[in-house]
């Protein structure tokens, strides 16, 4: 009896609206899913197309430009991009002779991104802790100045930083590329401070009374408790550093300091405008994108969840 009563109520109460609702709501949902699926398709298709093109031959691409599967499937595109073929072979396959010294650029990118991430996150965390948890004269003023730094767009400091790095004799070196973001970004300090503020004071005070110094409290209590935030920031910093193009373009001049993202741009600029080696270009693009896609697969949940927070700058 009791279960039927609400159903009756519902039926009577919404009778005039029921037919309208029943039709509109599922239709709305179906329409919503259609839009959503289109967005997902447009998002993923370019990645698939890159793989399909990289595995095809240039002659096959020219004759079957709309084939959904690779045409004349082979790894020749990757061989050309990596310089594993002779110049003659490469030209015969529709290549243009340029290659990517993949392992060297990969190593350069890893060195720079790792150094920037480790140093920037550590130094920013130390500063953020001093701003969030220590009381000292002038703290709020100094933090205010740091915050104002958020308003300076990175492009504004680009030219003067180039002059500075040149004066230091660090052009075309990995330290020259890493230096400007090695110590901090105002965003990293702000991001971590917000997290440290949310950690319970009692635990920290208990540790201090037990005789632990500031540094030990920071390392043994605060850092472990803020581990999710620190990891999130580290992944984002790594990604930003890895994907950066303009600053390495200014500083790097030869192979010895070339990073992977920049190398892809250089590789593309060497391709002829007429009949470019699409298979080789997409193979190179795939190689350049792969490390970040792997990072994403490893940290997907963390990265996705962090977006809402990082937006509130």
């Amino acid at each position: 009896m009791t279960t039927t009563t609400p159903r009756n109520d519902d039926g009577i109460g919404t009778r005039p609206r029921t037919p309208h609702r029943r039709h509109r709501l599922p239709l709305g949902r179906v329409l919503g899913w259609v839009v959503m699926l289109i967005v997902l398709l447009v998002t993923l298709f370019p990645f698939y197309w890159m793989l399909r093109t990289a595995l095809s031959s240039n002659s096959g691409l020219a004759t079957h430009p709309t084939s959904l599967l690779p045409v004349d499937t082979s790894l020749n595109g990757f061989r050309r991009a990596l310089g594993l073929t002779t110049r003659e072979e490469s030209l015969a396959q529709g290549g243009f002779g340029a290659t990517i010294d993949f392992w060297r650029y990969l190593a350069n990118s890893v060195v720079v991104a790792t150094a920037v991430t480790v140093c920037q996150v550590s130094f920013s965390a130390l500063a953020a802790y001093a701003f969030a948890r220590m009381r000292w004269p002038g703290r709020n003023t100094v933090f205010g100045v740091f915050l104002a730094g958020l308003l300076i767009p990175s492009i504004f400091t680009l030219l003067p930083n180039f002059v500075l790095v040149r004066d230091l004799g660090l052009l075309d070196t990995l330290p020259g590329i890493a230096l400007p973001t090695l110590f901090m970004t105002p965003f990293a300090v702000f991001f971590l401070r917000q997290f440290f503020l949310g950690i319970s004071v009692e635990i920290e005070e208990a540790a201090m009374i037990d005789g632990a110094g500031r540094l030990r409290t920071f390392l043994q209590i605060i850092v472990p408790m803020a581990a999710p935030a620190v990891t999130t920031l580290a992944v984002l910093t790594y990604m930003t550093s890895w994907n950066d193009y303009l600053w390495p373009l200014l500083v790097s001049q030869t192979d010895r300091s070339r990073l992977l993202t920049l190398a892809l741009g250089v590789f593309r600029s060497q391709a002829p405008a007429q009949a470019p080696d699409w298979s080789g270009l997409m193979a190179a693009t795939l190689l350049a994108a792969l490390p970040m896609l792997a990072l994403f697969l490893a940290f997907a949940r963390r990265i996705v969840n962090s977006v809402g927070f990082t937006g509130i700058k």
Binding site: T43, L61, P65, V142, L159, R166, E205, R268, M292, F296
Partner: protein
């Protein structure tokens, strides 16, 4: 527990804090030392130097010499500067306009349809790859000869389009390609904002007979306004600095029609070695960005007073 409360009580009486403030100072200074060094040397000093350089004639090879407002006079009279400025504005309007509207739609759809981690992960994935990779992918997809988009247009009986090579299409093309990369990121930012809206408000509206459409315009948008303003500040500042796609895909062409301001600054500085003039244009861009931040911040504050 007992040992902590006296410590905090002592803290509340003014003199206690003051003593511990000075005691903490050396440690605090040590903690902020590396970050402050980086902040001063690679952010504050370059910012000041950038403003100084904009008043000089500086070719990188010879020391800078003060020339007063010459660079700014030259800028006002430079047709390429103004065309770059116009092109950049066009880019930002298309890029941010389309991106914000579609991202808002996508965020509302996600909230209604699915909280799936898969969906969120997929729509965010383009944000993970670099602008350079993005440009490469779309160079192929939108290629005149072999690009799948032009192949489809032809199959539909339409004319092929010279996406990257015609003056009228190149900026919309770059703007939309970059929407592809940033759409998921923006949608997730807005999605996070949607989570802050109390579901009971929607329930109440439904009881009052409001449909989906009405609740979107009357509830979602007004309550989201401060959030949207914040998202707009962050995304449009990024949008004004567009460079990578232009550098990889068009080099500013055809005939300056995609010569955005940042690309022009780069060319003046690094192919003509005219750092003074390049710095003056950077200052102009900085002023525009500051003005935009200020206006949008005011708008977001207006929204907040609405909500609270």
């Amino acid at each position: 527990m007992t040992p902590t409360s006296p410590a905090r009580d002592r803290g509340r009486t003014g003199t206690g804090w003051r003593r511990s403030e000075w005691r903490d100072l050396p440690t605090a200074l040590l903690f902020i030392a590396p970050a402050t060094f980086g902040f001063g040397v690679f952010l504050v000093w370059p910012a000041i130097r950038g403003i100084w350089l904009s008043f000089t004639d500086y070719s990188v090879f010879a020391p800078a010499s003060f020339v007063g407002l010459d660079n700014y006079r030259r800028m006002v009279a430079d047709p390429v500067f103004w065309s770059s400025f116009r092109v950049t504005i066009e880019y930002v309007v298309i890029n941010i306009g389309v991106q914000t509207v579609v991202a808002l739609l996508l965020a509302v759809l996600m909230q209604r349809l699915t909280k799936s981690m898969w969906v969120r992960g997929i729509i965010l994935s383009p944000y993970l790859v670099s602008n350079v990779v993005t440009a490469m992918l779309w160079l192929l997809l939108l290629d005149y000869q072999l690009g799948i988009v032009n192949q489809l247009l032809e199959k539909l009986g339409l004319d092929r389009l010279l996406f990257w090579g015609s003056p009228g299409l190149v900026i919309p093309t770059i703007a939309l390609v970059n929407v592809w990369r940033h759409l998921g990121y923006t949608a997730l930012l807005i999605f996070a904002g949607l989570q802050t809206i109390d579901q009971q408000v929607y329930e109440a509206a439904r009881v009052d007979g409001a449909g989906e459409w009405a609740s979107f315009w009357r509830i979602t948008l007004p309550l989201l306004r401060p959030y949207l303003a914040m998202v707009l500040i962050v995304t449009s500042i990024g949008s004004f600095q567009v460079f990578d796609t232009v550098s990889v895909a068009t080099q500013g062409g055809p005939a300056n029609s995609s010569n955005v301001i940042q690309y022009y600054i780069y060319n003046v500085a690094f192919t003509r070695y005219d750092f003074g003039y390049a710095s003056a244009m950077s200052v102009a861009l900085l002023l525009v960005l500051s003005a935009i931040t200020f206006v949008q911040y005011r708008l977001s504050r207006a929204g907040q007073s609405d909500a609270s």
